[in-house]
């Protein structure tokens, strides 16, 4: 018995590399990135659920109707929707291999994204100035957690966009950069999908309360 144990211990592990398939570099990136987006979706689902539970707890503080400027939200929604279509044009230019067009549409997308973040920060600053801080009530805590997390995602998306524009400028539309641009396009469109939930369930339903 002891002989059997020592013999298994001393045997080096055998790897059957001949059974492994060859995978092209980056061939699993799209599925992997999609799985990341789905896990991100769960984060937002929990934040939506938190807002759904706490969104009516004002603690005798301001209600959505007192705080939200629906015209500003409409403008913000327009910015994000326009940035989605311009990113789509960047992808179409990328597929045709036009570097300058791709960079141009990416820059336009970045400006729309920047406008979105600017308007959102203005809204937050205005609310905080009026005393509607995250500490004020459970409604405001969950509001800032949900909308702030989305805004943080867009901010990091902008950082990623600038990084990729530098990458494309330096190395052109090589396969690796195409793959990265495709990942960012999924990220960007995904954030627009989350924003549909935000403007519908937070802002518009807040105005209906």
């Amino acid at each position: 018995m002891s002989i059997a144990i020592t013999s298994t211990d001393s045997t080096a592990p055998v790897f059957h590399l001949e059974h492994e398939h060859a995978h092209a570099e980056g061939s699993s990136t799209m599925l992997g990135f999609w799985l990341y987006l789905m896990s991100d979706c769960l984060i937002f689902a929990i934040l939506f659920a938190t807002y759904g539970v706490l969104g009516g707890s004002y603690a005798a503080g301001p209600a959505p109707r007192d705080l939200f400027d629906i015209n500003l939200v409409a403008l913000n929604t327009t910015m994000l929707l326009l940035s989605s279509i311009t990113y789509g044009f960047a992808m179409l230019a990328m597929v045709r291999g036009k570097v300058a067009q791709t960079q141009g549409w990416l820059a336009v997308t970045g400006l729309f994204g920047l406008a979105f973040i600017g308007i959102e920060l203005y809204e937050f600053a205005h609310m905080i100035h009026e005393g509607a801080t995250p500490q004020r009530s459970a409604f405001l805590s969950s509001f800032f957690a949900l909308v702030g997390t989305h805004g943080l995602h867009v901010s990091f998306g902008l950082l990623w966009l600038v990084t990729l524009m530098v990458q494309v400028a330096r190395r052109g539309l090589i396969a690796a950069n195409r793959r990265r641009l495709t990942c960012l396009s999924m990220f960007w469109h995904f954030l627009d999908v989350v924003w549909i939930g935000v403007f519908t369930f937070v802002y518009l339903m807040g105005m209906l309360r």
Partner: protein
């Protein structure tokens, strides 16, 4: 880094444009037009108070949001049942199930959240009235 990118460029040069999901100009324009409609209509409904019944209005804008999400999924994210041998669709279905459980479960379980809380007129008051000595405010018997 340079060599790495170089080999990658050679390797995927002929296959890459086929593998990466991307839409046509038509799919983006159609998606944008539909999204614009599905965004404008709920804003119009709420800003002008078109539907008197608030519950009906909430249902209407929820349905419009669901429609717009589907449009984004198909036209912008290029979802279909064939991509990655169906695994992206499987992941999406799994995620939708998890999201529905998390949302519906939370709202259902926490529906009576405020029932055992103190009456509202105590809440904005002095700290002494908010926190009774040594007692939990929740579930307190009067």
């Amino acid at each position: 880094m340079n060599a790495d990118a170089h080999t990658a460029g050679h390797h995927g040069a002929d296959t890459d444009s086929h593998e990466l999901p991307h839409g046509s100009l038509r799919s983006y324009v159609v998606g944008f037009a539909l999204s614009a409609v599905f965004t404008a209509v709920p804003f119009w409904l709420v800003m002008n108070g078109v539907i008197e019944n608030k519950f009906a209005a909430a249902i209407a804008i929820s349905i419009l949001a669901a429609c717009q999400i589907v449009v984004h999924m198909i036209c912008f994210l290029h979802m279909n049942t064939r991509a990655e041998e169906g695994w992206t669709m499987m992941a999406l279905i799994f995620t939708i199930i998890m999201v529905v459980i998390a949302l519906a479960g939370s709202l259902w379980v926490m529906y009576h959240l405020a029932t055992n809380m103190m009456p509202l007129h105590d809440m904005g008051g002095t700290p002494s009235s908010v926190a009774p000595s040594g007692g939990m405010p929740v579930g307190r018997t009067p």
